[in-house]
């Protein structure tokens, strides 16, 4: 009798439910999608009313850099997914390496972004710049949305990279192991979100015709 009573009590304490943890992350991802969704709505409304100016704005962006960044992020999603498979097979070192590569790719993305933005600033395409204020209103809106949406996305890249860095530490300290890797899965889910938002941002800003 005592054993079962103690047993149930203890179960309450070390409560583990990976399905539930992932469910929590999925719910959080919904909120992120809707956060960006709000901006996509604004984008849709303004693009509808300013077709031509949005095309002019898109001509100012470098499609090549955008394409490279898309490749970089897609590859990083692959490596983070592989890191989970690695830890499932008990290969701790490989898993850490793959998460490390993911973070490195995130940095490549951010560096590219940095050069892209500085180029825009150099040619005077930034909010309230005298150059931009002479342009038609649709272009002002286009670049307003461009900076806000890619900026907020870059912020998510940074947050995601920090989450993954913490995960490397967890793997190293055996908090994430072969039998308990939900933390890494949850971090990877977040990373995939960062990726998928970019997949929508890329065509909407770079590939407007």
């Amino acid at each position: 009798m005592t054993t079962t009573a103690v047993g149930t009590h203890a179960v309450g304490h070390v409560h583990r439910d990976d399905y539930g943890s992932k469910m929590g992350m999925w719910l959080f991802l919904f909120t992120e999608l809707i956060l960006f969704g709000g901006m996509f709505v604004i984008y849709a409304v303004y693009r509808f009313s300013h077709q031509a100016e949005f095309e002019l704005g898109a001509k100012e962006l470098d499609t090549l850099v955008g394409t490279i960044n898309t490749m970089v992020l897609l590859t990083s999603s692959l490596t983070v997914a592989m890191s989970i498979t690695a830890i499932q097979r008990g290969n701790k070192k490989l898993s850490m390496l793959l998460v490390g590569i993911t973070i490195a790719l995130a940095l490549v993305f951010l560096v590219n972004k940095y050069f892209e933005w500085s180029h825009k600033f150099a040619v005077g395409l930034y909010p309230q710049s005298p150059e931009l204020l002479t342009k038609p209103q649709g272009e002002i809106l286009y670049f307003g949305l461009y900076f806000v949406m890619t900026g907020l996305h870059a912020l998510h890249v940074i947050i995601g990279a920090i989450v993954l860095a913490v995960n490397i530490r967890f793997i190293q300290r055996d908090i994430i192991t072969k039998d308990s890797y939900v933390k890494l899965e949850v971090g990877a889910l977040y990373w995939h979100l960062v990726d998928i938002i970019w997949i929508f941002l890329f065509p909407l800003f770079y590939l407007v015709h």
């Binding site: 309450g12 719910l27 604004i42 303004y46 909010p127 307003g144 900076f147």
Partner: protein
């Protein structure tokens, strides 16, 4: 674990367990859902009293058609702060964050919520948001004067402290999202064995629907307010018409959240009503499934009606018809609840104790709020009363007459469970009489004033409105007197209240099966549920035999 003061075998309650940290740290760093619920209660009451004071002062100002006690600009900041605090820091969190936190795990037979640390983070974010709201008042520049809706372009132009107020609302929204996320996961994953979806108490159902709105609607206002901040800080063109932006688009984005927020506000209070009525009527609730489904229906349809706040702003006729129709539609699930509550009372052995009295006020006042809402949803009437006191009267009937009184009912119902003490019931009943009379004396004149054409947010008014304004102000005095008696009575009971049993009301839901106040881990052994939550068949059988 047991301290010597506690009898062998009986676990200490959650106030008296030995904790790792001592003193105030054992509270503000606690991950226990009960302590977090009480932290919310204390924080929210502080803001509630502040906003009541502002409302009280606004009514004083309205005694005379010209200036009475404050300057026009001060009046503008008063109604802005009153709105921001009441909406974001009182009515939205009060029932979910306090009673949701405290009661959901107890009602579904769990030891805590699914993410206890996230729960604590939510409270900290809430406090941070509250502090930001307060700093906006005291920083140079003056408190925001935009109204709680932050409409652009004025919110971009004004020199007052709009940014701290916007960031406050953003942070509070984040806190609300995390709470909702936590509750959904908790309700999905931690119900006691045997408690299937249709054995859950209706308060849990209402909280579940609310949590979904919190998770799915709040990010929209988060990003919208953030965009206004970015626009103010960096001059990015998004909503500002001089840069090509569309201020009407801002209004759409704002109400896409802020209308569903009305249901975040009212649904948990409806859940409270569904808990209290069967207990004090000693009857199984009538139409359990309809009440449960109607919560989900309200959450769903309520997400599709936002533009009825904007009928005079400029919209296609088709858009107006659709939004007007959907607004009428959302009245159906609300009415279903009202009918089921009344049907439960019918032929019950009604015990008119304090919680039920507040619930009765809720039903009447919420019905008035609902009907005036339908009038506003009708396109022609809407044009006539837009931006008048009629609108203000309507939403105070829903927010305060509904959720406010739902909160009063909840605190009187669960007070013995939360604190292990019973308050003085006579004083509580006096407070109820005063609050109900005061509330209606205050807001019925609003409805009439608005219909006669008194615009909202005006500092001066025409002399012919003075009598009604004065009646409303007298009502505010009665209401505040009632609130003072109510809360003094409850505070006194914390020290002097008589000790109460585990189940003073005869409730049948799981929270009444544990001690008052509950032990740290709620349940010694997780209970197995076999019956629905309101099994009063024994009473019903007894009354039938008596007949």
């Amino acid at each position: 674990m047991a301290t010597p003061a506690v009898l062998a075998g009986a676990e200490p309650d959650f106030y008296h367990v030995s904790t790792k940290r001592k003193g105030i740290l054992s509270w503000i760093l606690s991950t226990d859902h009960k302590r977090i619920g009480l932290l919310y209660l204390g924080t929210i009451l502080f803001f509630f009293f502040a906003a009541v004071t502002l409302g009280f002062l606004m009514r004083l100002e309205m005694l005379k058609p010209e200036g009475t006690i404050v300057q026009p600009q001060t009046y503008n900041t008063f109604f802005t702060l009153h709105g921001i605090i009441m909406i974001f820091l009182f009515v939205i969190p009060i029932v979910p964050a306090v009673f949701g936190n405290f009661m959901i795990p107890l009602m579904i037979g769990a030891k805590d919520v699914f993410f206890p640390r996230l729960n604590l983070l939510s409270w900290w974010l809430f406090v941070a948001g509250g502090i930001m709201a307060l700093t906006s008042v005291f920083l140079p520049g003056g408190a925001a004067d935009t109204g709680w809706t932050f409409y652009v372009p004025y919110s971009i132009r004004t020199t007052t402290n709009v940014i701290p107020a916007l960031l406050a609302a953003f942070t509070l929204g984040f806190s609300s999202i995390l709470t909702g996320l936590n509750f959904i996961t908790t309700i999905h994953r931690m119900r006691a064995p045997g408690m299937d979806w249709f054995k859950m108490p209706l308060f849990v159902w209402a909280s579940y629907a609310t949590s979904w709105i919190q998770v799915l609607a709040t990010p929209i206002i988060g990003i919208t307010l953030l965009l206004v901040v970015i626009e103010r800080l960096f001059g990015v063109g998004i909503f500002d018409p001089t840069l090509g932006g569309d201020p009407v688009l801002y209004q759409h984005m704002f109400w896409m959240y802020s209308h569903p927020a009305v249901y975040i506000i009212i649904l948990p209070a409806m859940g409270v009503v569904s808990e209290i009525i069967p207990v004090f009527a000693r009857r199984t609730i009538f139409g359990y499934r309809f009440i449960a489904y109607s919560s989900l229906a309200i959450a769903f349809v309520g997400s599709l009606v936002w533009a009825h706040h904007m009928f005079t702003v400029g919209m296609s006729n088709t858009g107006m018809f659709v939004f007007s129709f959907l607004t009428f539609l959302v009245a159906i699930p609300s009415a279903i609840k009202i009918f089921n509550w009344v049907a439960t009372l019918y032929k019950g052995s009604i015990d008119p104790d304090v919680p039920l009295l507040y619930v009765l006020s809720f039903i009447v006042q919420f019905s008035i709020g609902g009907f005036t809402g339908l009038m506003l949803g009708a396109l022609s009437v809407n044009i006539h009363v837009t931006d008048t006191y009629f609108v203000v009267g309507h939403f105070h009937y829903v927010m305060f007459g509904g959720t406010g009184f739902g909160f009063f009912a909840a605190i009187h119902y669960w007070f013995p469970k939360m604190f292990g003490k019973m308050y003085n019931k006579t004083r509580a009943k006096i407070a109820w009489v005063l609050a109900t009379i005061g509330f209606n004396t205050l807001y019925i004149p609003f409805l009439i004033l608005g219909y006669l054409g008194m615009p909202r947010r005006y500092y001066h008014y025409l002399p012919q409105f003075q009598t009604l304004h004065q009646i409303a102000t007298v009502g505010s005095w009665i209401l505040v007197l009632g609130l003072i008696i109510m809360f003094v009575n409850l505070f006194v009971a914390l020290w002097n209240g008589s000790k109460t049993s585990a189940n003073p009301w005869g409730g049948e839901t799981l929270e009444w099966t544990v001690a008052s106040p509950p032990p740290l881990e709620n349940f010694d052994e997780i209970p197995t549920v076999t019956t629905g939550p309101y099994d009063y068949s024994k009473y019903e059988k007894a009354s039938q035999e008596a007949v």
